[in-house]
Amino acid sequence: MLRAEKITKRFGDLVANDALDLAIDAGEIRALLGENGAGKSTLVKVLYGALQPDSGRIIFDEEVLRIANPSAARALGIGMVFQHFSLFEALTVAENIALALPSGRGLAEIARDLKELSARYGLPLDPATPVGDLSVGERQRVEIVRCLMQDPKLIILDEPTSVLTPQESDELFAVLRRLAEEGRAILFISHKLDEVRRLCHSATILRHGKLIGTCDPRKVSKGELSRMMVGEAVADIEVSPPMLGETALELRGLSMPAAGDFSQALHDINLIAPAGLVTAIAGVAGNGQSELFDAISGERLAPDDDMILRRGRPMGHYSINTRRFLGAAFVSEERLGHGAVPSFSLSENVILTHGVTDAMLARRGIIDWSTADDIREDACESFDVRRGVPNPAAGSLSGGNLQKFVVGREVVRQPDLLVINQPTWGVDAAAAAHIRATLSELARKGATVVVISQDLDEIFEIADQVAVLSEGRLSELIPRAELDREHIGLLMAGETSEAVVAA
């Protein structure tokens, strides 16, 4: 149905797509597999008309075409479900859908079609609800229904499961299989090997913008797929048995109201994180992760002082810098604009988290830039941060390198409490492995490490104990020995611990 031949797309010196070929037939579910930065998103943007290739051609239904823009793609019958939803929070579900349809259909008519369609595929939606009020899973439903409203022949889904619980993913897969049975082609972009092996009939694998190969993922082993995707085999981290220390961080009945319309409230969160262990908080994005991070870091102060305890002492009212002063370090989820200032140099970014707490760095409020340079070098060397010049702007580093820098910046303070939100989000495999190893090592040396992560593979790799965050509530802790994917999945979907155990 669709063939892309020798697609090349450059961004400056970077060749994002290097003469890529891709073919997909009616009724086929094809995986586009690759790491972050492998060129998957660029390729699908080209197929969807959002980017123009520098060279190569696209053949759709036996016809060579130039897809000028997304509207043209939609008119051809190519639909797209974006990873970062392209939805409008202030507008209703029906309005969101109307925006992606050709003109000439009234909102009432659209709402009627929408109801019919969502009933047919089991994707319930209320047309009149503003999208801002919907959960992440519901928003994806809007994206999918919006795509289906145009009766597409080819549906492209960009990492659709990254925001779903395992059970929600299963439901999505059922819908996708049904769509394929109707004769539609489905291009499924992912870097998760298990789900690709479960869902897809075929796979195209990319690495560093190049085509590595195609295969039937049901017939090759997971290890083989992984080698094709990552290149060299990724070494497993050796986990030595933990040495249990004192309780270094305790949350006791932590509740916080939502900060705004698009924020999640926290409800009665209890957690004990002992020194020497990696404590992981699992959960689907948007269930209170960043709010929990803000509360533990002190970016937002807890309502009661003794909701957060450090070695038994209340610190809910301490500022973020007082907490740092007492040996804590924090790595936020968003690197650009939160954990680092993109237009500032790395040395300037050292000041961001060290400036107030490091007496050597700022004496009487005057910054000592040479000390900042020393800390920068320390962080960069111990974490192998690759840079062209010694002190580049943070925004010019690749995602993985910048993440290594912001983690390194905190590790060099030798914290006895490290709280890190999504440690390897958008990071290449080698850097991710390095970061995970560092976290484990830090814990083994006696620090308390709290990892907030959406990535279950990551959690299974490094966590000593896991709790699940869902709609602002935290489950009970599960020790490493009792970890089980299905159990965690049900907790992520909002089932209570008792219900999960009973089932």
Partner: protein
């Protein structure tokens, strides 16, 4: 055919220096076109505007006199704009600073003596600061947009000045003129020593010192750092533990203070008394100065000189060619337009994409 913008990894060094020069050159070219359209000789027009003031001693002095308020206000505005606090009410803070400083000789003439001038300068700074803190407080406390509140307060300040010089503060011996009594000698800013000058005061030393100090504070202190982070990445500022509200209060307070200081230096300097109109829009022109200097306090000194030239040149051209004095404002607006456009080249690599270069070779 379209323009394609690619963000540069780091600002272009060449473009950084070239941009203000290019902006000025483009302004001159546009100015020539305007002169032509007005039926005036463009060469003569540009000469009177931008060359003649530099050739005569008295106008050179006047250039520096006019540059002082522009630079001093702009130095304060750098702090504000770097923190993304949009104080556009410097004109009002200038006026209120002048009023607060003038209140010393007008209301407490018995203070005549060496303490008079320092008190006036202090009161001027404090007055401007207090007036700047009004929009700051309204923003911090109620979230009211400081662009609009600070601007509305300009009109209020102008009317307050008008009321005072026509009412309670009018000179009883002034033949009913709307002016305050002239300040006593102890309440006047001394002229520059060792120089044969008439109107140029030691305010120029204060201005240069202010520029150097603020430059140091912004680039080398934790406070300056917090201002810069707060302006471009508010979330990162919170992560660093900086209080955003505190930054807004300091930024508007300090920039109001510098504007107020400029105000009292003006009325206690070249003017010597309060009048209904004490500023030809210095507070607004200083916004242009700050952006032409790309928010660098030291750079404000040079930019203020250029803008001062438009004022003096405008007066000269008015006399010599019968041009409207509004021509100066037009030049100022155009200069800011071009400064903004040229800055785009500092941060972006700009390329003209034609159908030919943009098409995919098949």
């Amino acid at each position: 055919m379209r323009l394609e913008f690619k963000k540069r990894a780091a600002p272009s060094r060449v473009a950084t220096w070239l941009a203000p020069v290019a902006a000025f050159a483009l302004t001159l070219a546009t100015g020539a076109l305007i002169f032509l359209s007005l039926g005036k000789d463009p060469v003569a027009g540009l000469y009177y505007f931008f060359v003649e003031p530099l050739t005569v001693a008295w106008s050179l002095e006047e250039l520096v006199v006019k540059m002082i308020p522009l630079a001093l206000i702009a130095v304060g505005l750098c702090i504000c704009f770097l923190s993304s606090t949009w104080n556009i009410g410097a004109e009002g803070q200038f006026i209120v600073g002048a009023l607060a400083g003038s209140s010393v000789p007008i209301l407490a003439p018995w203070l005549d003596g060496p303490a008079m001038l320092p008190l006036m300068l202090l009161a001027g700074f404090a007055g401007g600061m207090a007036y700047g803190l009004i929009p700051a407080t309204l923003k911090v406390r109620f979230g009211a947009n400081e662009i609009l509140t600070s601007l509305m307060l300009v009109y209020v300040a102008e009317l307050l000045l008008d009321w005072l010089v026509r009412g309670p503060w009018r000179n009883p011996d002034g033949f009913n003129m709307p002016e305050s009594a002239p300040f006593p000698a102890s309440g006047r800013v001394p002229a520059m020593p060792f120089m044969d000058v008439d109107r140029l005061t030691i305010a120029i030393i204060i201005t240069v010192a202010a520029a150097i100090i603020v430059q140091f504070v912004l680039s080398r202190t934790l406070f300056g750092y917090s201002v810069r982070v707060g302006g471009i990445a508010p979330r990162a500022a919170r992560f660093a533990g900086f209080d955003a509200n505190r930054t807004v209060l300091w930024a508007l307070g300090l920039s109001g203070g510098f504007a107020g200081l400029a105000g009292i230096l003006e009325v206690a300097g070249p003017i010597g008394q309060l009048r209904p109109a004490i500023s030809p829009g210095y507070g607004f022109t200083a916004i242009i100065v700050a952006f032409l200097a790309r928010l660098s306090p030291i750079g404000c000194l040079a930019a203020a000189f250029v803008l001062s030239l438009t004022y003096i040149g405008g007066e000269g051209a008015q006399i010599a060619m019968g041009l409207s004095d509004k021509m100066a404002r037009v030049f100022q607006g155009i200069l800011l337009f071009f400064a903004l456009v040229c800055d785009a080249f500092v941060f972006y690599r700009v390329r003209l994409v034609t159908a030919r270069t943009g098409a995919a070779p098949s």
